[in-house]
Point group: C2
Chain length 497, copies 2
């Protein structure tokens, strides 16, 4: 275990704050607000988002602080995120997926109330999970936060603390006033009788965040004015430091490592042919089986994600259409992924896929996918090396979260040889009905065949998992490719659980 | 009832089509595909979306046709929309809301399979609703479609027909082949034993669409080649006609009508003051009551939408924050509505609100709203007169659908006098912490006070409904405004059901 660095040391429990008098609060609050407004102006032009995550006990001012910041700053660039546990309707929804979907765009600030820590902390305080399970959840959260930070996000985690006595006093004073008693919610945690359990569950959270290098900043929440100054000052300091830093410092920290030799798996792909008669027979049989599988997935409420990657003119569209023939359009979406638009570029690259993952029992087919990060973005230099190198692990985590919740995932690489591609490009060029499919970019990509092959082979090596495997499909013969895709999916679903 | 016009006449049942031989099919299909590709290219630059809606019996080729079009055309500009009934999880979700959310952007084509007609048609065929209820649903759908067409959408509705004998033959031939039998789904409708009921339910659908001026085009679905040519030709003809027409022809048809005298309701707004002591007391009491209401709404799974409109510097933000203090952030979203971005401008103006309506039991607060259509867009000439004039009825329907499903809606106009606004603008200009709130636009809007007042008064008159009322709040005194907003909401919720 590494020694905690100077900058990540935290005091726990936090030192008590002294409440300033109204006049000096007013003066300091005015200064801080002016400073934050200026920082917010600069943030708008910056290339990173800010997540201010609140944790801590009830009554320590989390909601008041969120309201205060919305009042002080321009609310158009701020969003407050909070999650009802009930919103997570299905165990098939990966726990962090809602948070991926809600990530703020670059230049924006998200205030996270009762976010990704709450369900686990609650479960631990209630004794529903044991210490080891809690540690596992914390580790998964740390990975998630590191992914955000690696992409440049500024993550500030503030833990609002009250000791048992202060909380009791705070709740009592609220309960004594009939007009304010409603503010004391009949929640399980942060409540007096669970205080000890809550604190016991909090300690590993504080300790682990320190080890992970993403420490919570604990703040004494007893006094409204003192805590307002402390939190807004912490935000201003963090923002100022981040804006002063070179834009890529954080990102460059990750994803180092030497490039090991990559086996050329593409070279091994066989290219069998298939005659029309056998094609028809096998296609119909495979479609029938796929249809049955899809009904079972729906009953089991399992989501299915299919990823199609491969060379231009490799026949992805045709293979997808043969699948569609066997599936109920009402439980299915096909996502054709091109260059990201402005809104998508302003987010983490996984965001536009997180928002497209299927609902329980539904199917999503991605015609190109998040693997663009380690294919086109790598080869064309659209992502800095440290970022696409980090993407292998990020993608594996993203996929693992999906399958761990009981969902299915299969990834196809439709492989054609350079000669076959040339023949198809030329046929497209000659056919007035298909000419639009062929762009200058296709010819340019073809020039970089070797680069793309290396990128593909690296991806096949590094992002292959038992629950999220790649299937390499010889696609020089379209009939063979179309049948193989459906048959492989059936085999995977036959063997799953 | 108006005589059906020449252009809206339809033959029912559709005349039988003759299956062309393979060679002549190939030739005509090639011509049609080239024509459609060219039309799709022109559509990309056009300022309207296309909705191709399929209806009809199972086995008549709806899904095959959707696949065919995706194969023929550039699939990046096409989306196939289909809806599982199960997706509509709650009776609180207005039936057409999912379709509003899924509207295509201008320049795009949406193929709608089992869309907004399916649930009603199914219910009618099964005898779950009577003829009059079916007629009412058809009328509501006609309004929805008219709203889309009024906004410029090209709507093409194709009804795929099979007579009882042809359907029986089609299903039998599929069932006879074990590899294809799965294509016959155990659905209730379109099936042999419901065929008569299904046809009986279809007739009013065809007849009503004719009367409404948005007729279905019935097409004989017996022969795969013949129906492919018929449908793609119908799409090409419709697209060509629409692209040739002047862009605003359709839009200009609606929303005519003389401007009647508008009562000056703003002039009647009282501006009482409220002292600090009474303010505190009433605020706390009102917040406590609001909190209880919000818990009840959650239990009843009713959505609550609050709309805030009013003059610049009228105090909307402050009033909203006083509400937030009483509400659980986890069941709430505040939407601050500014000028639409590129993505939003490419859609119907109600689209960006449809996507933000709260889930059952949740709350959405709109700081400015869809009323921008009849306020800023009217006054600044951002929408053509026919379009903003049509918006009153469109908005009323949109709101009515929301409240009819058991949800709540309250709309606040925060009213300040011109002098008070000037004083606030000047105070903002002097205060370094608030200067950013004041823009040149605010001063410009102030110049057009009379125009905005007329627009506001018109809106108050035309969009006031018992279930979706406006509350005019005198806001010269901020304390009075903040308390009144919460108290009015409580009163409304006390009296609801």
């Amino acid at each position: 275990m590494p020694e905690p660095e100077e900058c990540t040391r935290v005091d726990w429990p936090p030192p008590p704050l002294k409440e300033p008098d109204k006049r000096s609060y007013k003066r300091r609050a005015g200064e801080l607000r002016a400073r934050l407004l200026e920082l917010q102006r600069r943030l708008r032009e910056a290339d990173f988002p800010v997540l201010l995550v609140f944790g801590g006990v009830d009554g320590a001012g989390k909601h008041e602080l969120a309201n205060l910041l919305t009042e002080w700053l321009d609310p158009r660039d701020i969003r407050t995120l909070a999650y009802l546990q009930q919103r997570q309707l299905s165990p098939r929804e990966p726990p962090l997926l809602p948070h991926w979907r809600d990530l703020p765009a670059r230049g924006k600030l998200a205030i996270v109330l009762s976010g990704w820590y709450t369900p686990g902390l609650l479960a631990r305080a209630r004794g529903e999970i044991d210490a080891e399970q809690w540690a596992q959840r914390l580790a998964a959260i740390a990975e998630f936060e590191r992914d955000l930070v690696a992409d440049g996000a500024l993550l500030l985690k503030v833990w609002m603390h009250l000791d048992a006595k202060a909380q009791r006093e705070r709740l009592r004073s609220l309960l004594a006033d009939p007009a304010q008693a409603w503010q004391v919610q009949p929640r399980d945690w942060g409540h007096l009788h669970l205080y000890e359990e809550f604190m016991a569950a909090t300690e590993p959270l504080i300790a682990q965040s320190r080890e992970a290098g993403l420490p919570w900043q604990p703040i004494d929440g007893r006094h409204p004015r003192a805590r307002s100054l402390a939190v807004t000052e912490a935000l201003a300091d963090a923002l100022e430091a981040r804006l002063a830093a070179a834009p890529t410092t954080t990102a460059a920290k990750r994803g180092r490592g030497r490039q090991a030799a990559v086996p050329d798996r593409l070279a091994e792909v066989a290219q069998p042919a298939l005659d029309k008669g056998e094609y028809r027979e096998r296609l119909h049989a495979a479609q029938a089986a796929l249809h049955r599988h899809s009904q079972r997935l729906r009953l089991q409420q399992r989501g299915l994600v299919l990823v199609f990657e491969g060379w231009d003119a490799g026949g992805k569209g045709g293979a997808i259409r043969r699948m569609l023939q066997a599936l109920d359009a009402r439980m299915l979406r096909v996502h054709r992924i091109g260059a990201p638009d402005a809104r998508e570029r302003a987010h983490h690259y996984l965001w536009r896929f997180a928002t497209r993952m299927p609902a329980p029992g539904h199917i999503a087919i991605f015609d190109r996918s998040w693997y663009g990060r380690v294919l086109v973005e790598r080869v064309e230099g659209l992502a800095p090396p440290a970022r696409w190198q980090a993407a292998y692990a990020e993608i594996n985590r993203f996929e693992q979260a999906w399958t761990a919740a009981g969902n299915r995932l299969l990834k196809f690489w439709l492989h054609i040889t350079p000669d076959e591609q040339l023949a198809r490009f030329e046929a497209r060029r000659e056919d007035p009905l298909k000419r639009w499919k062929l762009t200058d970019e296709d010819w340019r990509n073809r020039q970089r065949w070797e680069d793309y092959a290396l990128a593909a082979n690296t991806m096949l090596q590094r992002c292959h998992a038992p629950q999220a495997p790649w299937v390499l499909v010889g696609a020089n013969n379209k009939r063979h490719a179309r049948v193989t895709v459906i048959e492989s999916l059936n085999t995977m679903l036959d063997n799953a659980d």
